[in-house]
Symmetry: C2
């Protein structure tokens, strides 16, 4: 078992990473949430595989569990879905100590987390990520929220989970395309601050794509540790946490402009990572060759290195709506080399357009 | 000028209490929220009186201000209103450092505060309460949220303001019934922990009802200090902050059962205070005579001591839906004497019914 502690100034929790961890969800949660009832929101795609495992574990720990399926992707990460879950909780008379358990990917976790953040001004929340992306990224850090027609994650809160249970066994049912999306965030973490992990990921890529259990546990643990270190340094994203946005200023704009669901988040991040590397090179932040070095690993993961994109005006408008706009200026996180990034604003529009061109098919 | 500092572990702000303070809102806010734009949500009832004062002050401090009127009461404190404000912020491309200013009563402040808590995962928020109730209660403490058809304040968050500006001059345009509602919370604070304030309030009641400026500044400052002390001890309401719920378990049920808007919050709290005192006497928590002592001051404030209420079943259902239900049991905050309260659960249903009867007309 690998347990990565997340020790924030006012709250502490563990990310448990282990094959079979989902079977121990209930006992993990019991000391942390004392009410008789629990809400389990599960991804419809795992209704017959992992959801019964989680439900049985909650029952063994004495929770009367209300289980609600969640179907669909980003298009369901909305205030309407949130309202529907409020109605379930209100109808069942859920109390402040009743835990909400999110068993699914990042979309599901973000949505259920926002419900947990805002129901009765905040109730206990457990993340059971079922995608690699959610394991290494969204389930750690406390960012929760939903999309609005104007953009992604524009409504949300910071609400830390009481526990995160990452069971690599659940990845067996994950579509290969989704697994690759998780690898995009892992590559991003390595580029931000871990050259050794970058090399390890490149070398173990065949094992990771073949779902080798030991490789997956190590991958998740090392990536959660990076994410956790950054989150602990800067819980509310006023400083270094912004480094995690590497590739995301481009990536979010790609998702918004191309349309949620038509391109997956991890694919957009991979493209954004490459655009950021190209921009870093053109701005003299990185030496020539960095884009190529990163693109090599991105390609080995089976992630896209180019895509059909809308015109510049559409992309720029989407970028201007992103949350990471300070005083009207777009701030970019740019890689200096593998293992180090810097933040730049005031980047010329022409350079940003050239970066878009570098990932346009 | 009276400034009460609110020093939480991770955040500090001042409650400025002064005649004319609203004219200095902009300069107060500028060091705390650096963006070029501000959103001012103001109570429609003060569109021609205090709103222009606030707006001019924001303009002098260099804020390009979007001003949005808010009309109505509890029935407008909804997720639909929240969505409408999100749309304004998104259309205007508000950023993370853009402040949201709530100029109005508690309903408006709670709603705008919830928008501030959840827009871009939290933006700066300033409270400019225009009712006595909001000055001494809802503007301090960081509780924000909205109502749902199932009950009051069931959706919400904790989001501390960056500043609170309480200008007693704005109370000149407040209806007398609203002023009395504020006095209900002041009486509550005194019963919880300040016998001297209880006596002072009783003695100065004619001056307070006549809007004597010195009396109002002292009243607000002393009450904010009590609220602040409790909030600082217990920001997230896990312990002593529950004492502030004195009168509210009954009060919220009255509002829900009678109908929001038909009875005002302060009136429901006054009735709840009397019901809690009767329950305290019947349970042997307080000596006989406490209800009478409190009722005397409640009556001097012109607040109701009885009301037409629905039947017990309706009231009990409303009570069971309240947030302060732990493990299925209703917890009551009960006064032992003026200046001291205790928390009790497992109170017999018959005793609760007798307390309802004691305030039924």
């Amino acid at each position: 078992m690998s347990a990565v502690p997340i020790a924030l100034p006012h709250h502490r929790y563990d990310v448990v990473i282990e094959a079979g961890a989902l079977e121990r969800l209930g006992e993990q949660l019991r000391p942390l949430a004392s009410a008789p009832s629990a809400l389990l929101v599960f991804d419809q795609a795992i209704a017959d595989t992992h959801a019964p495992v989680a439900r049985a574990s909650l029952a063994r720990a004495g929770y009367e569990t209300v289980a609600v399926p969640f179907a669909g992707g980003e298009e369901r990460k909305t205030l309407d879905t949130v309202r529907g879950l409020y109605d379930v909780l209100l109808a069942q008379r859920f109390e402040r100590r009743s835990p909400l358990v999110a068993l699914g990917g990042g979309v599901l976790g973000d949505t259920v987390g926002f419900v947990a953040a805002t129901f009765l001004r905040g109730v206990p929340f457990a993340q059971c990520p079922t995608t690699l992306l959610a394991m290494v990224d969204s389930s750690v850090g406390g960012k929760v929220g939903v999309n609005v027609p104007q953009g992604k994650n524009l409504i949300g809160a910071f609400h830390q989970p009481v526990s995160v249970v990452a069971d690599p066994r659940v990845l067996r049912t994950l579509p290969a395309r989704e697994l690759r999306c998780g690898l995009a965030e892992c590559i991003k973490h390595a580029v931000i601050r871990d050259p050794a992990l970058f090399g390890w990921t490149r070398a173990r890529m065949p094992d990771l794509l073949a779902l080798d259990p030991d490789a997956l546990v190590e991958l998740v643990a090392r990536n959660v540790a990076i994410k956790a270190a950054v989150v602990i340094e800067d819980e509310k994203e006023t400083g270094v946490r912004a480094h995690l946005n590497l590739g995301h200023t481009f990536g979010h704009a790609i998702e918004a402009a191309v349309g949620y669901g038509r391109i997956l988040h991890g694919e957009a991040v991979a493209l954004g990572l490459l655009a950021a590397a190209s921009l870093a090179e053109s701005q003299g932040v990185a030496a020539r060759g960095l884009r190529h070095e990163i693109e090599d690993v991105v390609a080995r993961a089976g992630l896209p290195c180019a895509a059909e994109l809308p015109d510049d005006a559409r992309l720029e408008e989407a970028m201007a709506l992103d949350k990471k706009v300070a005083a009207g200026k777009i701030r970019f996180v740019l890689p200096q080399r593998v293992g180090s990034v810097v933040i730049r604003d005031g980047v010329p529009v022409a350079a940003v357009r050239a970066a878009w061109t570098s990932i346009r098919r």
